[in-house]
Amino acid sequence: MRHIVMGDEAVAQGALDAGISGVYAYPGTPSTEITEYIQKYKKEHHLDIHASWSTNEKTALEAALGMSYAGKRALVAMKHVGLNVAMDAFMNMAISGIHGGLVIAVADDPSMHSSQNEQDSRYLAHFAKIPIFEPSNQQEAYDGVRHAFNISEQLELPVLLRLVTRLAHSRSLVTFNVPDKQNEKSFIPNIDRFKMIPSKARPQYDKLVAKTQVLRSCAEESPFNQLSIGHDFSLGIVASGIAYNYLMENFEHNKCPYSVLKLSQYPLPYEQLKYLNDTCKQILVLEDGYPFIEEQLHDFFGNNNKVIGKLTRHLNRTGELNPDVVAKALGLKEIVNVEVPAFVQPRPPQLCEGCGHIDTFNALEEIQKIIGNKQIFGDIGCYALGALPPYNIISTLIDMGSSITMAKGAADAGVFPAIAIIGDSTFTHSGMTGLLDCVNDNAPVTIVISDNSAIAMTGGQDSSALAKLKNICLGLGVEPKHVRIMEPLPKNHEKNVALLKEEINYKGVSVIISQRACVRLPIDRKKIAKELSYV
């Protein structure tokens, strides 16, 4: 039977059918639906698996490694920038190796539909020397994640499953296969490889380097890498992941005249690429993201002017691919189309009507009138919209948690007052350690935690911070009289402005918890948030 699933859900179902004992994740567009699907499935089928949200991607990946250490299969899901957060664990688990299968599904976002960069996760997997699986469609996402769990256990390595937005958020029909059972709990006989002290890490790293060849042959033989031979040898094409679809879209009835290597498993299969290099006049590389394959082809075959792609500007260097740019690279006729009339205006996302962030911004606006517009440091969440009109409140937005640490650094440089605004979940994700730095230096910073009791931007997932913010701040050493509470409501505006004014004049660490539940939360969760609130 065929099922309607989006790319993310195909990964989730594939992992469930591969017998995972847990998913570990922090929400992030476009990866969120992977975990949400598993949570829903767990509830409906009364499964005994772990599926609740982790505090951040690093805690998620480490917990998954613990599950793998105990012999069971674990899936980790995150958006591309989340992998930066988990990088420490990521690099080192490649060296220790894993026991139960471990697959890390990372959703890249070329064109930055909802991200601050378009980094290509394949580089990070390459850096860690682990296999990559990159599906081209929903069925391959399902089949591929099961394949990835198998090779993960076979090679004793984590596998990175790379998605891009267009596949993550696209639905199609997928056939599910017979599910595997969960692994029994087990330890490996000699756990030395998990003790990464230098004397044990060195031989493990040697082993990892030596595995490169095994990984490569694994990719050469992979059923997911297919070389089809054409009849026109003026061009050979390497098309990875979703780029394969954009290629085939341009040929009716599947009739591409050129030899094509359809690529979904890395490291790159050298022999197949060499065949293209030996037989074709030129090689066009189609890949969504950075020129990852293109660069390696130069390494393989020298800069022989044969390889064309993003670096040679046959394709856009930044932003995602689509059937049209691929058509252009193939030299196919372009369709002249109608243009968008100039009077059509952009319609940027907006904060919801009645959102608490708006009232927090309104209060901060009064402060901005006094201190100017360069001293409020922002963070990642719905309140990032404060960087845009009509608010123009936030001056910076770099990465999760950076509002606090950047405010601190600016304060160290003499900026006063330095104000940070950060959400509740972003604070527990990556803000707490920065706050400890502030406390230890008694930095003159004012930190506004705009607490809506949810991870709102990705759809209102449970926040790790729920009912814990005050105790966390006190526990980290913020003075009790400078942990302040306000309720962002229009009727409290004057009171809130006065409170902010008091705290920005304090020459030490102050935290203002501006607390009101996200207006989009269902009534029962709003009620819980209200009961647990400090207001």
């Binding site: 567009t29 596949l167 085939m248 059937p323 189309n337 968008v340 009339p341 205006q345 009507e353």
Partner: protein, 193 residues
């Protein structure tokens, strides 16, 4: 044969609900489909769109190539114009006449509608008004689905079944209102033709 449809609107207008109904109907009708959407940061009030591709054969790209959309179906007229580069020569433009003006520099409504009228194949439908008359102002999306139902290779029966299975859990009243909105859209479109 592949039929390409772009669904366009503003967050909260039910664009993705229409997409889900089309998906389900394709499944019921044994058709291949791909349906991609971008919603990421769009809370209420931001741009939402979906590419729906329906075929009796394998579909490759999740995105519709430029100049290949048979239909652009919009729940808001300015949103319709945003996707004009995708319109096939002789493709259809279908939109609700009601604007959603939540930005300061929203263009003049007349200008938008006049531009749409320059295309030979267009229908501007008072879908919101029709939905309101039926008793469910939110169902303008289903009115629009009714309008488009004659332009797509899915049988009416399959669409109705899909609407039923999607709204079943929400109770008889909601289901009935949505089916009524769908029927009203169909009737309206037939009168126009």
């Amino acid at each position: 044969m592949t039929t390409n449809i772009i669904l366009a609107g503003v967050g909260g207008q039910g664009v993705l609900t229409v997409a889900s109904i089309l998906d389900l109907a394709c499944l019921n009708n044994g058709l291949f489909f791909k349906q991609s959407e971008v919603h990421g940061m769009s809370q209420r009030g931001g741009v939402v769109y979906s590419h729906v591709r329906i075929s009796d054969d394998v579909i490759y790209s999740d995105i519709i190539p430029l100049g290949h959309a048979d239909v652009i179906l919009a729940t808001e007229p300015m949103e319709l114009l945003r996707y004009l580069p995708f319109l096939k020569k002789d493709g259809w433009l279908l939109t609700d006449s009601e604007t959603f003006e939540n930005i300061a520099n929203y263009p003049q409504k007349e200008r938008i509608l006049d531009t749409i009228k320059t295309f030979p194949n267009h229908m501007i439908i008072d879908a919101s008004e029709i939905a309101q008359k039926i008793g469910n102002a939110k169902a303008s999306n289903l009115v629009m689905l009714g309008v488009v139902s004659n332009h797509i290779p899915i049988k009416e029966r399959a669409l109705r079944a899909a609407i039923k299975s999607l709204f079943d859990k929400k109770g008889d009243r909601v289901l009935e209102l949505n089916l009524k909105a769908f029927d009203a859209g169909r009737e309206y479109a037939m009168e126009l033709v």
